[in-house]
Amino acid sequence: MDDNLIIQATSIHKTYHTGTVTVPALRGIDLCVQRGEMVAVMGPSGCGKTTLLNCLSGLDAADQGDIIIEGVSLSGMSDRERTDYRARRMGFVFQFYNLLPVLSAVENVELPLLVSGARPRDARAKALDALAQVGLSRRANHRPSELSGGERQRTTIARALVNRPAIVWADEPTGDLDSETSKEIMDLLVRLNAEAGLTFILVTHDKGVGARCARIVRMRDGLIENDSK
């Protein structure tokens, strides 16, 4: 495998069985992503974008195929191993923020570090750093309900970055934001990608978001239709 390849997915299949209905969400996906790439996965609703993201990130298990992240195969991992791997090497940004409403901003951000086994004091310091990176030092002790949409999303990004992940997975990161805030968020992501060399996989409907990414992978009906840089 190419050392620069961070994601190598081969012949990924995933089918959902809901009652009497069978839905083949992924019908044989092959995808490679280089370290430090910013990839947008785009396509119409129901094309399998989120399913692909879930399988590649280890949130869900593919029915067939092989997924290798940083040279480590996810396919053979147990749920425990995948969970552990996510804690150490993945960051997540979702459309609806998924901040825990009962924790403050800094408590949300430090959570992945605590899960990884960091000392609480160290975790707190790093979390504050991460918030500073995204310009939210002054809002560290506020609950998500006290933050604006953009601030919440920046908090989510800080959480995604705090444990220095190999890959950041973002599912519709600007889906619930206005255009100005979306631009701010994308500026942040692009800056982080450029400065830290983080690999980003973004699932999005937004053409503007896609345009900011170095590579666009278009999907349709569970297959990659087009992969352009």
Binding site: N54, L59, M90, N98, L100, L114, V115, P120, R159
Partner: protein, 1130 residues
């Protein structure tokens, strides 16, 4: 059980049943009109079966407790009724010589027998009187008996003698032996008798045994022919003629038995009518006329009777009013004469006249003498009387269980509210949508009410079924508690009780459902749809409320302008009062009116010395002040509503907790308040509520402390963080659950602490027995004149075993204080040996006496001095239930007083009329094993009475080396012919303790039922939490939370809530228990506060274990949430 809280059960059943039918009918009507809402309301029930089951279990507890209490009451009522029926059979009334009900005097045979011709006269007068179907002459007398064959004695063997043709009225049905062979009285030989089974057991007798019957100093020898199966008390059956010979009373009887038409139970319903008729026949018309002349048209007397009647109910009220009317009319009617012949009524009349200071003391004494002479023969409604006492006892027990169960019921109602809050949270967006598309708030209320009623119907049925089982279990436990006393509990329930239980359970639950539905249906539509927090009420909300009456008036005019007259009227007639009520309600919820109410109640309580009013007043004042402060702080701290609430509710909580934790005298109050049993419930609820408020509004500080303590552990940190954050985020829900656990655990631990004190109380046997080891009773007819000397000279005992032999005589008397009427009591004449050795302490000593010993010495040395037991003195804390017993109570002091002046009481011996005075200089302490006794020296009685009164009770202290049981048996053996029965006092107390302990365990078990509620609450919250937090769980899993970390966070969260509630409840319970025990030590110096570690450990362990068990399944479900699916779920 016929009555509860003074109300007829039939009326309660009819009322509740009717209300339930009306409510269900109204609901059915609304359901028919809003079929869509009805279907929407019921839809979730089959879809979430586990949740529905949990809800039904939670809702059924109130009904279970109520049903169990009623089944217990029915069981006791039925048991006592059966005993009465078994004992009395067809006998409904009896007629005896003299006013035997006025005293407890044992009388000689000569004083109780009357001519047979009196029976014949009465029978002739009653022929054709339809309510009576039999009138039977008889002899019934209790005498001592000795089984010389087996050397056993019985102090009180009842001789039952009737004519052979009247045998059917003896016991229940004809006499028969165990093989159902009929036993006929005319089959008995000249020296033969029948015994019944209880007598045979008491005398260890079998057919053929020789009995000695002591009708006088010289016994009569008889032989047992057969053992009859009838009766519950020891009885002996012979023919009337034989009994007349036995008692040397030829041609005389001492009782007439009356049977009313109908069976053994139905006959008692005619008692009132029959008794009035009999009294009319037996009354001396001349004396009646004299009484009538004294009272006729006397306005003072008549007004006093009418005034007294206003405070009475039922038959007593009717009778007093009829008597007043009768006395006001110019002629003496039969009805008035019959009323004057009613001893119970005339006793009350005399009390009323004494209190009204009618005429002079001499006139009242003359009236009393006339009443005593009114009839030679007295009529006694024994069956009705016993049945009524039984009902009272059953009602009292039911009341105890209902009051005890109030905590569980309160917890159950809180749970209902919590469940509906959870359901509303679950359906928030659905409710928002419904409102958005045009549904009214009332539609939401309907949906919840329909759903809640469906649960309610099922829960009430389950509750009744389980309540019946619980009630039977209670009955069986009571049965084992009283087994040694010979009482056989017969489990029973009536359909009426089931109707009441079901209806009450349904209605109480329904009311809570309605309240909850009304509360949870208030929502902001946008916030509901978008699942955002509810925005705070805007100030315009308050302004709108205050202006509502005026806007309503204006609205009415608007309708009027458009010629909508009915709508205008409806707006004014309904709308204005509703809006005014809204303002009043606002006044209460914002504080000012609550504060005012609290202050008024406090003042009223202080004036009337009523503990409940005073305490509730102070509590309302604290709450009102806190709410008012909250309103004021809100103006100042506009941007920090959280801080406003924290300050206000913390202060309210602290205020309530401190007030209910400290003893009364901590506030410098010197007056004594009277408290009822309800204070246990009120104090518990408010103490717990206060503490929960303080904890919940400052829980973040508590949790910060926990986190700093435990959060350093690396792998525990993320789990702990989540486990603590969620309960803190939903303070109301968490507070309710903590409160549920706290209330129930509080009640159980408080009760256990008080019961532990009882155990300690019973440890000091000497304090209970006064230092004596045995009590020996002999019979009246053949007492042992000088037991000490008899023991010294008896070859059957070892005199050195008996260190002290003290004698006590018993005299049933009437006593009065000042100008009051004569009331029954008992006097004990005790000898010097008793007074020198009695170790009873005194709760109150007269001024000038420092120690109990000084008082006892004064009683010994100064004739006429006496000590009274604690039941002869009223108490401010009216939690005791006393059924029956003598009437006299010393007035002018309370049992809780520190000291007393010497109090002179007049004493009258009813047979001879001999009157003398005693000066009471002390009140026995609680632990003295005595009830309804005045103790004075034997010398006092010897001097005052015109006859010799022999001691029939002896108290003995044994040498240390003597075995009590052997010494007791030796005594019985040595004095068999005197019918001496000896009791080891310590054993008697222990046996009594066993019964008491069984009841204590029962009550504790009853209280522990409430734990089901707390556990159900946790189960509901945990199940709901899995659904609510599904997306968050998905995110946690995405971030790296392993499955078991998710499960652990749920378990720790439940543990935190459960342990907080349990810990609060347990700790708080010890506070009032400590104060109560401290206040009791002044009366019972041996008492000490002890923490019931054993019971506490069991309760805490059980509660926590059940809580974990309930949370385990939701925790496992949460751990199995797939992150990918959860994060898709919106």
């Amino acid at each position: 059980m016929e009555k509860l809280f003074g109300l007829s059960m039939n009326s309660i059943a009819a009322c509740l049943g009717s209300v339930l039918i009306i409510v269900l009918f109204a609901l059915a009507l609304v359901a028919w009109r809003s079929r869509v809402m009805f279907k929407l309301g019921l839809r979730p029930i089959p879809r979430r079966r586990a949740q529905s089951t949990l809800i039904v279990l939670g809702l059924m507890l109130a009904t279970l407790i109520i049903t169990a209490a009623f089944v217990t009451g029915d069981t006791l009522s039925h048991t006592i009724r059966s005993l009465v029926i078994d004992e009395l059979g067809e006998i409904d009334e009896t007629i005896r010589l003299g006013s035997g009900g006025r005293s407890y005097a044992p009388r000689s045979a000569a004083e109780t027998f009357f001519k047979f011709s009196r029976y014949e006269e009465l029978a002739a007068q009653l022929s054709g009187y339809e309510p009576i179907d039999a009138i039977v002459p008889a002899i019934q007398e209790s005498i001592p008996a000795v089984n010389t064959t087996r050397r056993r004695s019985e102090r009180s063997l009842q001789i039952v003698a009737v004519r052979p043709e009247d045998a059917a009225f003896v016991g229940a049905g004809d006499l028969a032996d165990s093989t159902s062979n009929a036993l006929r009285l005319d089959d008995l030989g000249p020296h033969e008798v029948y015994l019944n089974a209880p007598a045979a057991e008491s005398l260890d007798a079998a057919p053929g045994d020789e009995l000695k019957l002591y009708t006088g100093p010289k016994p009569t020898t008889v032989y047992i022919r057969a053992i009859a199966t009838t009766g519950e008390n020891p009885q002996l059956f012979i023919s009337l003629k034989r009994a007349q010979a036995l008692f040397d009373q030829p041609g005389r009887i001492n009782i007439i038995l009356i049977s009313n038409v109908g069976d053994a139970l139905k006959g008692a319903e005619l008692t009132h009518e029959v008794t009035a008729h009999l009294r009319g026949l037996l009354t001396d018309k001349v004396v009646a006329a004299q009484i009538f002349e004294m009272l006729n048209q006397d306005s003072v007397a008549i007004d006093a009777l009418r005034e007294a009647a206003a405070d009475q109910r039922g038959n007593t009220q009717q009778d007093l009013l009829k008597l007043a009317d009768g006395l006001a009319s110019p002629k003496l009617t039969d009805e008035t004469r019959n009323l004057l012949a009613d001893e119970g009524l005339t006793a009350q009349v005399q009390s009323i006249l004494a209190n009204a200071d009618w005429r002079s003391q001499a006139a009242r004494d003359r009236l009393e003498d006339l009443f005593a002479d009114l009839s030679e023969l007295g009529v006694y409604d024994i069956k009705r009387d016993n049945l009524d006492q039984g009902e009272l006892a059953a009602s009292a027990f039911t009341t105890i269980f209902v009051v005890t169960g109030l905590f569980g019921i309160a917890a159950g109602l809180l749970l209902i509210f919590l469940i509906f809050v959870m359901l509303a949270a679950e359906r928030k967006s659905e409710m928002g949508m419904t409102r958005a598309i045009g549904g009214q708030r009332g539609h939401l209320v309907q949906m919840f009410v329909f759903e809640g009623t469906a649960y309610d119907l099922a829960a009430a049925a389950v509750g009744v079924a389980l309540g019946v089982g619980t009630g039977f279990l209670v009955a069986l436990t009571l049965g084992s508690a009283f087994a040694e006393s010979g009482l056989t509990i017969r489990p029973y329930m009536t359909g009426r009780s089931l109707i009441v239980s079901y209806s009450l359970g349904m209605l109480v639950t329904f009311a809570t459902v309605l309240f909850s539905a009304n509360r949870v249906s208030r929502l902001n539509i946008v916030a509901a749809i978008r699942d955002l927090p509810e925005p705070p009420h805007s100030p315009t909300h308050l302004r709108d409320r205050l202006l509502a009456p005026f806007t309503t008036i204006v609205e009415g005019f608007r309708h009027l302008r458009r010629w909508r007259i009915f709508r205008a009227l409806w707006t004014w007639i309904v709308g204005i009062p509703v809006s005014l009520l809204g303002i009043v309600w606002l006044g209460f919820t914002t504080g000012p009116l609550t504060l005012l109410l609290g202050l008024l109640m406090t003042l009223a309580g202080l004036q009337s010395s009523t503990g409940a009013t005073y305490s509730l007043g102070v509590s309302f004042a604290i709450i009102g002040a806190g709410l008012t402060l909250r309103g004021l702080l809100a103006l100042v701290l506009k941007k920090r509503p959280g801080l406003t609430d924290r300050i206000a509710f913390t202060l309210i909580g602290l205020g309530l907790t401190i007030f209910w934790s400290l003893p009364e005298d901590a506030f410098g109050l010197t007056q004594e308040f009277s408290y009822g049993a309800e204070m246990f419930f009120i104090s518990g609820i408010l103490l717990v509520a206060g503490a929960v408020m303080v904890v919940m509004y400052n829980a973040d500080l508590l949790l910060r402390a926990i986190l700093s303590l435990l959060g350093g552990a690396r792998h525990l940190a993320p789990v702990l963080r989540m486990a603590i954050a969620f309960p803190l985020a939903n303070r109301f829900r968490t507070g309710l659950t903590v409160g549920l656990f706290a209330i129930v655990v509080f009640s159980v631990i408080f009760m256990a602490t008080m019961f532990k004190v009882n155990e300690a109380y019973f440890e000091n046997i000497d304090a209970l027995t006064g230092g004596f080891d045995l009590r020996a009773n002999t019979n009246d007819t053949n007492p042992v004149p000088d037991l000490e000397s008899a023991i010294a000279s008896s070859p059957y005992v070892r005199p050195s075993d008996y260190e002290v032999v003290a004698a006590e005589s018993t005299l049933a008397v009437e006593m009065r204080q000042g100008n009051d009427r004569w009331k029954t009591y008992l006097v004990r004449g005790v000898d010097a040996a008793y007074l020198d050795n009695i170790g009873y302490d005194l709760a109150i000593k007269a001024e000038g006496y420092e120690t109990a010993e000084e008082v006892w010495q004064a009683v010994r040395d100064r004739p006429g001095y006496a000590v009274i037991d604690r039941y002869g003195v009223p108490s401010r804390q009216s939690t005791s239930i006393i059924i029956g017993g003598p009437e006299f109570r010393l007035e002018g002091i309370y049992f809780e007083d520190e000291t007393m002046p010497p109090m002179v009481v007049e004493v009258r011996e009813p047979r001879t009329g001999a009157t003398f005075k005693v000066t009471i200089i002390g009140v026995l302490a609680t632990e003295a094993y005595a009830a309804f006794n005045v103790y004075t020296s034997q010398a006092t009685l010897d001097h005052a009475l015109p006859f010799a009164l022999s001691p029939t009770t002896h108290y003995l202290r044994l040498a240390d080396s003597a075995d009590p049981k052997s010494a007791s048996l030796a005594l019985e053996n040595a004095f068999l012919k005197h019918g001496l029965q000896s009791t080891v006092l310590a054993q008697e107390i222990k046996d009594g303790q066993k019964s008491q302990r069984a009841i204590e365990y029962l009550l504790q078990g009853f209280l522990t039922l409430g734990l089901v509620v707390g556990v159900a609450a946790l189960g509901v919250i945990s199940t709901r939490a899995v659904v609510e937090r599904r997306q968050q769980i998905g995110m946690l899993r995405a971030l790296g939370f392993q499955r078991e970390m998710v499960a652990w966070s749920f378990m720790i969260e439940s543990s935190f809530v459960a342990l907080l509630g349990i810990g609060l409840g347990a700790a708080l319970a010890l506070i009032p228990a400590y104060h109560m025990i401290n206040s009791m030590t002044s009366d019972l110096p041996g008492l000490r506060f002890q923490v019931p570690w054993g019971v506490m450990s069991i309760v805490i362990g059980l509660a926590y274990g059940m809580a974990l068990l309930t949370t385990w399944l939701p925790a496992v479900q949460a751990s199995r949430v797939s992150p990918a699916e959860a994060l898709r779920y919106e």
